[in-house]
């Protein structure tokens, strides 16, 4: 079974600065997908960014980018020019490319605080 580990329960960043959230995972599969979800105080889960394991190029979405290291099984999220609205719980998630159910395995989350 796959596991996802987020070793930073809490992080803080100054507004306009850059912060990196860590995520590692364990799998024996070669093809899979990785996601970062954001959960603001409203509790609505919002997709931030996704990465296909077969792509070497790191995904980027505006101020959000990932550092995907497949051999190290590491998938960190970098938030540049942090804004107050980025304050949320961030979850890393893994999904196998095999099987019909496509279920996600989540990490325990990192609570990000953005300081004005």
């Amino acid at each position: 079974a796959q596991t996802v580990t987020q070793s930073q329960p809490e992080m803080s960043v100054q507004e306009a600065e850059t912060v990196t959230l860590s995520c590692t995972y364990d799998t024996s599969e070669s093809d899979y997908y990785l996601f970062w979800y954001k959960q603001p105080p409203s509790r609505q889960m919002i997709l931030v960014i996704r990465q296909e394991a077969y792509k070497q190029q790191n995904a980027t979405e505006n101020r959000f980018s990932v550092n995907f290291q497949k051999a190290a099984k590491s998938f960190s999220l970098k938030i540049s020019d942090s804004q107050l609205g980025d304050a949320a719980m961030y979850f890393c998630a893994y999904r196998s490319a095999y099987g019909s159910a496509r279920q996600l395995t989540f990490g325990s989350g990192t609570q990000l605080t953005v300081l004005p």
Partner: protein, 114 residues
């Protein structure tokens, strides 16, 4: 566009009472459906998933059950609630097939068992 609804938004139930949470999806057909539970300050735990009507897979054995009576309707139930059932329950859907399809989440139900 697709939308996902959950109700109720908030529920307070006594121990031993029954439970029924409903989730419906609009704007798509034959989706995969999922129930997650999130304890306070914790990650999401997958409870059930369904790839079609009447097809339910359980990830965690417990006193909860799920049913999918219609293509876009997913119900989470319990005959007798326990204190440990308190939490935030999220329903989600995704497309079938290959590809980096994300899961789309509903607004959630906050359940407090007293």
């Amino acid at each position: 566009s697709q939308t996902i609804h959950q109700w109720p938004a908030t529920l307070v139930q006594p121990v031993g009472s029954p439970l029924s949470l409903e989730c419906t999806v609009e704007g798509t057909s034959n989706p995969n459906l999922y129930w997650y539970r999130q304890a306070a300050g914790r990650g999401l735990q997958l409870l059930f998933y369904s790839v079609g009507i009447g097809q339910i897979s359980s990830e965690v054995p417990q006193n909860l059950s799920a049913s999918r009576p219609q293509d876009r309707q997913f119900i989470l139930s319990s005959k007798k609630l326990l204190l440990s059932d308190s939490g935030f329950y999220l329903c989600a859907w995704s497309l079938k097939g290959g590809g980096s399809y994300e899961q789309y989440f509903g607004p959630g139900t906050r359940l407090t068992v007293t």
